[in-house]
Symmetry: C2
Subunit: 336 residues, 2 copies
């Protein structure tokens, strides 16, 4: 039913090879012929069938992005970076939602096996080195985003350092008892951020107190939600004594935490993590994570590898930057 290259060739009185050349920007077609083919193709509403093209040419001009969760701001910014980077190249983007299931790895492997794309971007998927080795044997270009490995190119973020900076800042302002608004303790970013927190404590010889590591009850999205932040902050406010300050592991959680603070009429100096757009508008002190850049850079890296498969593996680590706004201030002395 749909128009094929044969229909166009017949209507234009040329061979299908010529039609194909016209659509592949080949230079060696008589301008007159080209014009005629284009005209007829336009009239008949023809467009090459991508699957047939892909099969015959063995080119796909497509990269696939795999991610565990799509509906959060982090993902959204990374995606924006990817798309902006791709816009300059001749590639299409495919997005596959992996979800948080146990068999995430299987799903990723299945997807890669299907060979839809020439390259794959694995975002926030923290597989073991063993699993990554399994992926490696499919011998396909992959770049990790927000993860690190020796087996593949990667663009990641120094979470440990970010938490260290935030905690150190709070300490430098005279806070000693610093609670952590944490999330799923098994998630890699949380593990790294807790390490940074401890390093700062150690440096100032403040004893580590595990009772100050507080997690909300909701574990949706690994606990990186407003609700979970709200729950956790309520727990913190029930601590006795109430800690001096809070290191919050994400801006999203901080939004929930601030609601709890407001309801209790309490202020606690707080620094969070990510620097989402909203942070600026609600006065959140936070650790800036260049999500957009990470997506952009990772895509560049992947495309480079497509062009040159023998490139040495390269790991790019982005560094944190502390952005201080009002949430980290101590309460102003109230002169009564």
């Amino acid at each position: 039913m749909p128009i094929t290259i044969y229909d166009i060739a017949k209507a234009a009185g040329v061979s299908i090879a010529t039609v194909s050349r016209v659509f592949n920007q080949a230079e060696n077609v008589k301008p007159q012929t080209r014009k005629k083919v284009l005209k007829i193709a336009d009239e008949m509403g023809y467009h090459p069938h991508v699957y047939a093209q892909g099969l015959a040419s063995k080119k796909k001009n497509r990269i696939v992005m795999l991610a565990p969760v799509m509906s959060n701001y982090f993902f959204t910014e990374v995606l924006r970076g990817i798309q902006d980077s791709l816009a300059e190249e001749h590639f299409e983007l495919n997005i596959v939602n992996i979800g948080r299931k146990k068999d995430a790895f299987k799903l990723v492997e299945e997807t890669i096996k299907k060979r839809w794309a020439e390259g794959y971007l694995l975002v926030s998927l923290h597989f073991s080195e063993k699993e990554l080795k399994l992926l490696k044997r499919h011998n396909i270009p992959v770049c990790l985003v927000d993860d690190f490995s020796n087996s593949f190119d990667s663009v990641s973020f120094n979470n440990e350092e970010g938490a260290y900076l935030a905690t150190k800042y709070l300490i430098s302002k005279g806070n000693r008892q610093i609670a952590v608004l944490s999330a799923n303790a098994n998630s890699i970013p949380i593990r790294d951020r807790l390490k940074g927190y401890r390093r700062a404590l150690d440096e100032f010889e403040i004893p580590y107190d595990e009772n100050l590591i507080i997690t909300g009850d909701s574990m949706e999205r690994d606990g990186f939600t407003e609700l979970s932040g709200y729950q956790a902050m309520n727990k913190i406010l029930n601590l006795d004594p109430i800690p001096d300050a809070v290191f919050c592991t994400s801006d999203t959680k901080a939004v929930g935490a601030q609601k709890a603070l407001k309801e209790h009429g309490v202020h606690l100096p707080l620094i969070s993590f990510d620097n989402l757009t909203i942070a600026e508008y609600i006065g959140l002190s936070t650790v800036n994570q260049p999500m957009y850049d990470m997506g952009f850079r990772a895509t560049n890296k992947l495309i480079q590898r497509l062009h040159n498969p023998d490139l040495r593996i390269s790991n790019e680590v982005h560094h944190p930057e502390l952005v201080i706004r009002s949430s980290s201030e101590k309460l102003k002395e109230v002169t009564s």
Copy 2:
């Protein structure tokens, strides 16, 4: 280089037809044969080539979502609905970013012509009936999300009604001078929302004053950004007299607007639009828009049409619901 169906057939001592049957869940394969093929395929790391499958079978099991902007919460929620709906079916999702360019329509048409997918979801793309007619002639299943047309199935939202409800509520609380924090005046949602605003004014015989329709200077994302809301609210606060209340055309803008209010130490009753997750946490009174549901329902509708192309065109309109929180309160009387 990659393993093909021939390699598996040879290794298993069967024909490629049999291998194909095994991978297509055909029932008529001897269990023994099936097991053997599966084992060998697994060992050799084989997976059917999707392009070849698509070409030979003329099935794609793929739907494409086309959207103008991806990095905002609205899109993100719609996407979540789409994915949840798709998860139950046997379809893959492809996302194509159309951007805000002039030639958005051309891009959409190009994409549809490529015939990647059996069905297309057009999200927040407001084309004219004339343009939609052009799309129609490609004779392909399409469902519009956040838009309405007689030519295609659609799932949309009653923006006019939402603005009407919000404005009416503000009036009912005794506010007369109600400013609008607006955005790109040419965007369809803004046009509809302004209509609803006027209808409420008319009903209460409040004269319409175009000086109360305020837009920020930044027109990124049609002005639906925190920055734009911040700018617009600053303008409103310079009005003389300051209006009684504000109808804000999106939660995102409201976040910016609240910052401006805070900086000026002023409170103005405010209702906004969308009911993003964050609205609950910052006490925003707002018009709930069921974004997730709209994505979910639209996908269902599209898949139904795939199964049954002769279905009558169906337009589903979702209705607004006012969610009142603290931002719309009048300032409490200060007893001094």
